[in-house]
Amino acid sequence: MVVKSLHLSNFRNYASQELQLPPGLVAFTGDNGQGKTNLLEAVCVLATTKSPLVERDRELIRWDEKSARLGAEIELPPPPNREADVRRLEYSWRVEGQKVEREMKVGGVPQSAVASWLGQLQVISFFPHDLVLVTGEPEERRRFLNLELGKIWPAYFSDIARYRRALQQRNAFIKATYDNPNRRETEEKYGSLGELNRALVSYGSRVLAARSRFFAEIAPLLTETHQRLSGLEGPFEVEYLPGLSAWRRGDESDWSRLFLQSLERDHSDDFRRSSTQSGPHRDEFAFKLGGVDLRRYGSQGQGRLAVLSLKIALAHWVRDTLGDDPILLLDDALSELDSTRRELLLEEAKSFAQSVVTATDATFLGEVAAHFRVSEGKVEPVLTTA
């Protein structure tokens, strides 16, 4: 798919901006703090309802304004996808006292559920902040997985939500049952923990299976992408580490059974700590270059290349899975690469139906479909084929 036009009003430092974008490589250049990143952020918000950079929606609305709006026209590939060729997305906020009300519309029809909004616009983004995927806490990596897999498999989102709820119920149950003789008696009579385990395993095993399938499918794409980008032959991999005590490396057989075994194995531990030790809420994954864990031993440059490889491999995976190109957004991805790798990355970006990059200057961009200069919340075309 391709973003044909983009509209921003009162979003970040933009008062009102209308943009027509061509397919191919689109570049935004300008000094720091002029609003290049905000444009990519706007596309991300349209794709996922969430900013990849800030938690609170209030921060997305222009200073002193009470409302903001984003709009885009998305061009879908021609048949076999025979439905409407152009999809209109609108996303708006209204500040009501302490609260921010939002509204989402597809083709003018209001959407109530985030689940029905996701997938309308498929975007894979890289922001310099994404380095936390390598260096940060496991929580960051699980959040990445949930968002990226939920965008492709909507049922994954509801499985995650139900899994969390079942986990809260189980933790509340073991907290209340521990050193309470009455509770233990009813537990023996009804086997309630068994039922909670069953609920946890039924949602959790679907999450585990989805993640494991994702890592298996993306593995060859990752190795190829990293080789193309880095020019290095050394094997690069992202290793899935399920948070199950009964899991052993290489065992991907039956997630329900592995999960249930883990719960049984952790039984006394769970009661002692009043929380559930095993489950996808403890999942992790590790970036490994030539067998070495980059979180502990990698350099900043290696980490950056690892994250870029992951994002681009992800974009290839989305293309293979959906049969349509996602839009690739690269924020300030070029500046810290050497000239060879910069060119390799731009080649990679050009292989997608549309990709958008930001840079402080245009000198090393090469041939682009459009080039815009960004200055103080205004965008001026330098060159465009749109």
């Binding site: 029905s116 997938g119 709820r165 149950f173 009813t186 009579k189």
Partner: protein, 199 residues
């Protein structure tokens, strides 16, 4: 602004009701003030009566003003078919469909450790006690498709395991009268998982 004490007391009580905020409480309170004393006495009487006279049916837990509710007492109701619901208000929802002619059993809640509800607070043994006398052959679980509803469902199903009754649950999937392309993806994914053979 301060109201006279009796009005203040009324507002305070009204605001405790579900769905009644300060504004609606005011509107209700002033409407009550304008009405005949007789009308208000009738209302007060009805409120007093509902608490004094309505109680759970001793057999099924549904609301009733006699010992055994009309549904349990009705000879027209099929023996052998028992529909398990969480709350008494769910009985009304199913009754309104005019499609069910068996009897009900109200559990009195859902298994919800977060809110301190364990299985011992649910009327599961009372349900087991009805199986024999009422010659129950099938138990239909009509519980919400939430995590709590599903956990309660499997708890009840397991309690029924050794009693030789058929256990079924309400189908989950596409809503009637809706277009397929208007259903959200999660509902469609769930309906796909729960698909069944035609004919």
């Amino acid at each position: 602004m301060l109201y006279p004490r009796p009005l203040e007391a009324l507002l305070y009580e009204l605001e405790k009701l579900p769905g009644v905020g300060p504004k609606s409480a005011q509107r209700l309170a002033f409407a009550l003030l304008r009405r005949d004393a007789q009308q208000n006495d009738d209302l007060a009487g009805a409120i007093r009566d509902v608490k004094a006279k309505i109680r759970p049916c001793e057999n099924c837990g549904n609301y009733t003003d006699v010992e055994i509710c009309d549904i349990c007492a009705s000879p027209k109701r099929e023996n052998g078919l028992l529909c398990v619901v969480a709350e008494a208000r769910d009985v009304l929802a199913i009754e309104n469909s005019n499609e069910f002619f068996g009897r009900y059993h109200v559990l009195g809640g859902l298994f919800n450790p977060l809110e301190g509800v364990g299985p011992e607070q649910l009327k599961i043994s009372e349900m087991i006690g009805r199986l024999g006398p009422e010659h129950v052959e099938e138990v239909i679980l009509a519980l919400s498709p939430t995590v709590e509803g599903e956990t309660t469902g499997s708890l009840v199903a397991r309690a029924l395991e050794k009693h030789g009754v058929k256990v079924t649950q309400l189908a989950r999937g596409l809503p009637f009268g809706g277009d397929l392309d208007y259903a959200d993806q999660v509902t469609i994914a769930g309906a796909l998982r729960g698909r069944r053979e035609l004919g």
